[in-house]
Point group: C2
Amino acid sequence: MLNTVIIGTGNLAFQLANVFYETEEIHVTQICGRAPSLPSGFYSDIDYCSTYEALLEADVYVIAVSDSAIASVVKQLPFKDRLVVHTAGAVSMEVLEGQNRKGVFYPLQSFSKNTTTTFTNIPICVEAFQPKDHELLIKIANYISNSVYTIDSQQRLALHTAAVFVNNFTNHLYQIGFEICEQHNLPFEVLKPIIIETAHKIANTSPKEVQTGPAKRGDTDTLKKHINSITDKKHLEIYNLLTQHILSQHGKNIL
Amino acid sequence: MLNTVIIGTGNLAFQLANVFYETEEIHVTQICGRAPSLPSGFYSDIDYCSTYEALLEADVYVIAVSDSAIASVVKQLPFKDRLVVHTAGAVSMEVLEGQNRKGVFYPLQSFSKNTTTTFTNIPICVEAFQPKDHELLIKIANYISNSVYTIDSQQRLALHTAAVFVNNFTNHLYQIGFEICEQHNLPFEVLKPIIIETAHKIANTSPKEVQTGPAKRGDTDTLKKHINSITDKKHLEIYNLLTQHILSQHGKNIL
């Protein structure tokens, strides 16, 4: 049985506490947070503390707090030579510098507290300074996910950046679709099937191969119609930039 | 039984021929194309012609050719007072002006010839000049799909533009994710679960409500790290523009 302590009570801490709790080989020894008692929603029989001095012994301490708070948490840990990992995409492992052994346990997904997350398909990216710690993190990751990667801090930052493009920015494009529908009294429902189809289309092929649309074809007539139909200046800026990029990527330098 | 003639042999013509053929209430009377004989892949017992003079009588003629060819096809039809519809998102119904009754039958999806398309969930957007033609198109649409909308030409153009944002542009963002992975020796596989999750997250809520990420939070530290980690000038242009838009949409004017 692997003993884990989770430091933090936010979305990711909550999801990790749940999946660890539900995994036979992992024990959640304790959760540590700022609130006086364990916040509601967590499995209520998990031990809780609100001061670092009360932290129990464990095989790994998982820091799941906001990026900017990680360094300060590490400095306050009242022990040494234990394995302490953070869970952040855009934070280097070096931030954990101090008296303890360091590592990273980064699940690449966008978590929210009110939805149940199934970890099986969520990629877990691990990194550790010492080989035995790396092995332990790989083991924990494999208990909860079928998709485990060893990547270093520089790769992880790149991956986090890539995730911003395919997750945050994509969602913003959905929002623009939503706004265009609203402007023309169209239900957003009508766009949902093509959104799902687009995401699933790249399952077995590169996005470049399945690119479609007027920019890919160099169809200036349609591009002009779209540009004339867009009434929002911000939408138009994005339309123009992304169209230019697709045109040039597919060798259609016509605008 | 409704008799249909499909004019065109491209991706959409192929998918419509298949779904009409497989629908009990619809008969594919004929396919009309430029090739001397019916291209392989189509159900081989469908009647085929390669001249407009050989067109048989039908309840509806479905023009599924490239946008720029629609007007020329309509002009060459050797009959009058029949229902002729096109299938294009960005083409006004008025393009069909001539001796026949006009309408539009627009399935909102991105079609490719080598994949089997299930129409059940594909939104079909119909428009017609005469009420009885509108009724007939609604009937056909309902035979093949659970999602049928009546929308006019202006709405359809807006919808087509919105689809470019959520489909073509989104796919381009996936391609940027792919390129960042390639640059850092990361498998693109690692991004696929978050891509799927992002698309499914908006099922029951507006994209604005589920927006996450450093721009949404106004997290300048992470934004700066990302900007410094991006080596491709084109990626950076898109990163900056979309970040600015999300920042301003969520009231975070900090950059």
